[in-house]
């Protein structure tokens, strides 16, 4: 999911109130690329069953729910 320099600068300006030069944008990108790589890594991971322990315990019955 590439993000254009224009989009990068617009969103950064919304946050910080300043624009970055093309050179500065290049310095932001490694962190962003790591993020996008990790997102890709999560794509096939099924997280639908992962819930907080409270919800899992509630499903086991009223006694557990009270705990």
């Amino acid at each position: 999911m590439p993000i254009s320099d224009e989009t990068l600068n617009r969103i950064i300006a919304e946050y910080g109130g300043f624009e970055l030069s093309a050179e500065e944008l290049e310095l932001v990108k490694p962190e962003l690329e790591n993020y996008l790589t990790e997102l890709q890594n999560l794509r096939d991971l099924d997280l639908s069953d992962v819930m907080s322990s409270r919800l899992l315990r509630a499903a086991e019955g009223a006694e557990a729910d009270a705990g």
Binding site: I3, I11, G16, L27, V28, E38
Partner: protein, 474 residues
Amino acid sequence: MPDNELLKLTISEIAPMIQAREVSPVDLTEAALAEAERRQPTLNSFITIMREQAMEQAEQAEDELSRGQYRGPLHGIPIGIKDNIATGGIKTTLGTRVLKDHVPDEDAEVVRRSKEAGAIILGKENLEEFAAGATSNNPHYGAVHNPWGLDHVPGGSSGGGGANVAAGVTFASLGTDLGGSVRLPGAFCGVVGLKQTFGRVSQRGLLVTSFNGDHIGPMTRSVRDSALVLQAIAGYDPLDPSTVPVPVDDYALVLERGIQGLTMGIPSNHYFDLLDPEVEASVRRAIAALEELGIASREVSLPSMEYVGALRFSAMADSVVTHEPYIASNREDYGPDTLYRTLAGQFVLGRDYSKAMKVQRIIKEEHARVLQGVDFLVTPTTPMPAPRIDAETIEVDGKRQKVRGPGSGHISRNTSPENATGFPAITVPCGFSELGLPIGLQFIGRPWEEGNLFRIANAYEGVSPSRGVWPDLG
């Protein structure tokens, strides 16, 4: 005993001498201040040396002793405090120009407890800007230098504390650990670094941090000293909702227990991947030494660690919110590493943050399950010895890794998981690289079982090749 030898003792060695009035807190503090001032041009480990306040505290400590009042093993002991932990009336900069004139009204809870235990605060220690990095190469206050190799980083972000403890300037330093920032300087500087269970120590007064996984912990010259400092600062703080009212063990008693019958887990994935060969060799030798001490070993698997990189999402998002009050008005005061790294966090979506929380959950559950079958995990603390200060990247196991700034994170790959699980972890020195740089061994335990980690680490410390070896600073 000459001052330079007194300063090389551990807290557990010198405390009885103070109690018996063989060593004066005033003389000891004067010697430590002189050493701090002598080493500052070389190590750059302090942002503020608190000479006047330290001497006042020392005189009070001495006066109390003369009246027969002894507060305990930290009475009269000079320590350092990282400069992102609030000290009332004393500048607390967080290593940034943004807050260069910031003076808190009151002490952080850990500072209050340390003073209550009789410790003398020597000064505020240098760190990575906003404690966000692993090098302590600070763009505003200068780089901290590693006592074992002055051209090398001390680790970060609590690098000033690691350097001071290793060099014999402070007997202990309090650092903060959000991804390894106590354990990394511990490993790179050859000292003991503890990140206790999340909720064991109050974070009240730790400035500009994350809601997710920060810890204030000690760096010391021995495991026993680590236990002494934790004993003083641990415990429920009714004004910090992150603390948990779990009873604190008497660690001195726990340390006397043996280690026979314990089983260590050796992770078969993640923690031993992408390692410098010298680190792996030292850690494997340490594992063999632990087996010789009577600890059984078992290989364990942590498959969810494949997704550990997602834990960065929450740190990125937190950082954006944390810096929001400062960044628009103070952009020019930010160093480039912090600025550009922070800006990237603006792109983290809420749904991805939530996914990261679920990944955090499965990693935590997996660690908890594995730690039901073994008593603790043993891993390298860092994948490599301390990089050079001027290094932008380093090669580890054939792969080039960034050392600092946006896109970095390899240095903390073995420490940051325990910030997400909240489980306790301790690093102890386990030898040296060919260049003479320290290597760290990490033990990870079950929640609230710091005592077990202390007795295991204490047993290993007794046979470690690092024992009794000091950096040659001239």
